[in-house]
């Protein structure tokens, strides 16, 4: 008998694959079922956002952020608009800030529901998928009530919001939040105490805290490994320092820990929204600076300057001072940052989107080394990537 030789088997997973959560391609080197090497190949959804945003004005660019991270759309809009406001050195009025926080946290809940539904269906718990999307439809109804669109809203403006809340919004949100804890308890009863779920997620896709920091991970991936870094606490924006909420922290760094963190984050988001609704002040919803925001229409019949400002803003757009800023928010995936470079003209010189999914995905080969092929599905699901964010 000849000497037995060992070869690794190269298996291609994706880019069209039901469990890669988008167009991600993984090239896996397998020894039997054990993964001894992996290489994610990305770029299948590269859209050229950054170059596209260099060719439009700051206001025209509001259209693009929700299409980058299409699950947490209001948080993405908030990230861009907050960065431009930092560049300009203005803050929106209090009412606008509170409404932004309400919608951003509802976005976080919606995003985590999609994550939970798709992760569950990867592990063949299809009823949780249906339940999560049922709850998400209620949130999308609220979004449609506010902005007219379920997903790509375009509701936030530089300096505030597009228009005020409709009547009945607060009651609608409270009604939804009243039903949420019972549903979350239902999901936990179906999953957390489920032997199969625990066996498939505990000890799988483990990331040590040192590795998490070295790979630049943020969000639940970093917090699951025990590093306490949440942009809402570290660099508060939009009024988050006035709210009382906990940031869930894990210890073991496995997929089950990240699942527990995201479930708890949904409850904490609900807490934030209830506090925000309680303290929703009256007042203007956009900043008063005529160089930034359009004047109210009734002023146009009285004031020549208002007409000129309107004309200038619509035909040219805002002109931030030359300089650069980096402004970040906490998206459901991690730190979503916008690095804006302005040369003083009406278009940004450079818009860099710091995508949390891009850096988190780099840690995937470290997570799945020496685990089984079946664990790859769990690992990808637990990182919670959005390919629009990865590829931009």
């Amino acid at each position: 008998m000849s000497d037995l030789t060992r070869e690794t088997l190269v298996v291609n997973m994706g880019p069209q694959h039901p469990s890669t959560h988008g167009v991600l391609r993984l090239i896996l080197d397998l020894e039997g079922e054990v993964i001894v090497g992996s290489e994610p190949v990305i770029g299948y959804l590269h859209t050229g956002f950054e170059k596209e945003m260099e060719t439009r004005t700051y206001h025209q660019n509001i259209v693009f952020p929700p299409r980058i991270e299409y699950l947490a759309t209001f948080i993405e809009e908030q990230a861009y608009v907050t960065a431009v406001e930092k560049l300009l050195g203005i803050t929106p009025p209090k009412r606008a800030e509170v409404i932004r926080i309400v919608l951003a946290e509802l976005s976080r809940i919606a995003s985590h529901l999609v994550w939970l539904g798709t992760s569950a269906i990867d592990l063949n718990v299809s009823s949780v998928f249906m339940y999560c999307f049922r709850d998400r439809e209620n949130i999308l109804d609220i979004f449609e009530m506010v902005s007219g669109q379920r997903m790509m809203h375009g509701y936030f403006r530089i300096g505030g919001l597009q228009w005020d809340l409709p009547a009945g919004f607060v009651d609608r949100v409270r009604g939804f939040l009243a039903t949420l804890p019972a549903h979350l308890d239902e999901f936990e009863a179906l999953l957390t105490d489920n032997l199969i779920w625990r066996q498939r997620t505990e000890g799988v896709a483990v990331l040590t805290p040192e590795d998490a920091i070295r790979y630049g991970c943020t969000g639940p991936v970093l917090r699951g490994s025990g590093v306490n870094y949440d942009v809402r606490r570290a660099f508060p924006y939009g009024g988050y320092d006035e709210y009382d909420f906990d940031v869930p922290l894990g210890t073991r760094g496995d997929a089950f820990e990240r699942y527990r963190i995201r479930m708890e984050e949904m409850r904490q988001s609900r807490r934030i929204v209830l506090q925000a609704l309680d303290r929703l002040p009256d007042g203007p919803i956009i900043v008063d600076d005529r160089k930034v925001a359009l004047p109210p229409r009734r002023e146009l019949v009285r004031s020549m300057e208002a007409v000129i400002h309107q004309f200038k803003l619509v035909s040219e757009g805002i002109h931030p001072p030359a300089g650069e800023v980096y402004s970040a928010v906490e998206s459901p995936r991690g730190e979503k940052g916008y690095y804006l470079v302005s040369d003083g003209s009406n278009r940004p010189l450079r818009v860099r989107v710091r995508a949390p999914s891009f850096t988190n995905l780099q840690a995937l080969p470290a997570m799945i080394f020496r685990s089984y092929v079946a664990d790859v599905v769990v690992a990808i699901a637990s990182i919670d990537i959005v390919l629009g964010d990865v590829d931009r």
Partner: protein
């Protein structure tokens, strides 16, 4: 405390710093290309343990043309710092992968979209564009490639021409 950490690092790097910019509460230090790795290691040891972002800006037609920007975060001290190097298209920058493995894909993306090479990178190849793509899309001389929509008898403006670029304004 946060400002102290930034000041400490800025003072430690002061001999090498070519420019020190402050804008909207953020500090940017511009360094020569040869000193950037030591500066990154110093900042990492001082507490800026997270490499938040690594990107590039094309300042064409200014010389040197590119800026490679390192965004660092110290989560314990809750502070951020930005380090920059200026480089030309044919000059390579030392790779930050020995300091942070996170720089691996970030530098590949810069190579893909700008064409800046990184010395010492384990696997410098395209990451977002197809492997046989020619050109570096985020350079200013690479066109956006907009296809005009053709109606009968009328071709409307492509989106980027609807509001033209105004000259930079000194405010």
């Amino acid at each position: 405390m946060a400002a102290d950490l930034v000041r400490t690092v800025a003072e430690a790097l002061a001999p090498d710093v070519a420019e020190h910019q402050e804008f909207r509460g953020e500090t940017t230090l511009v360094l020569p290309v040869g000193r950037i790795l030591d500066a990154l290691r110093l900042a990492q040891a001082a507490g800026f343990v997270l490499l938040t972002d690594l990107t590039a800006v094309d300042r064409h037609p200014a010389e040197p043309r590119f800026e490679v920007v390192y965004q660092l975060t110290a989560p314990d001290a809750r502070t951020r710092l930005r380090l920059k190097v200026r480089t030309a298209p044919d000059a390579a920058v030392p790779s930050a992968t020995p300091v942070w493995p996170a720089a691996n894909w970030l530098e590949r993306e810069i190579f893909d979209l700008f064409g800046i090479r990184f010395d010492g990178h384990p696997d410098l190849k395209r990451i977002l564009m197809p492997d046989d793509w020619e050109g570096h899309p985020l350079r200013k001389d690479f066109p956006l490639v907009e296809e005009p929509v053709q109606f009968i008898g009328h071709t409307p403006k492509v989106p980027s021409r609807i509001i033209p670029k105004t000259p930079p304004r000194q405010s």
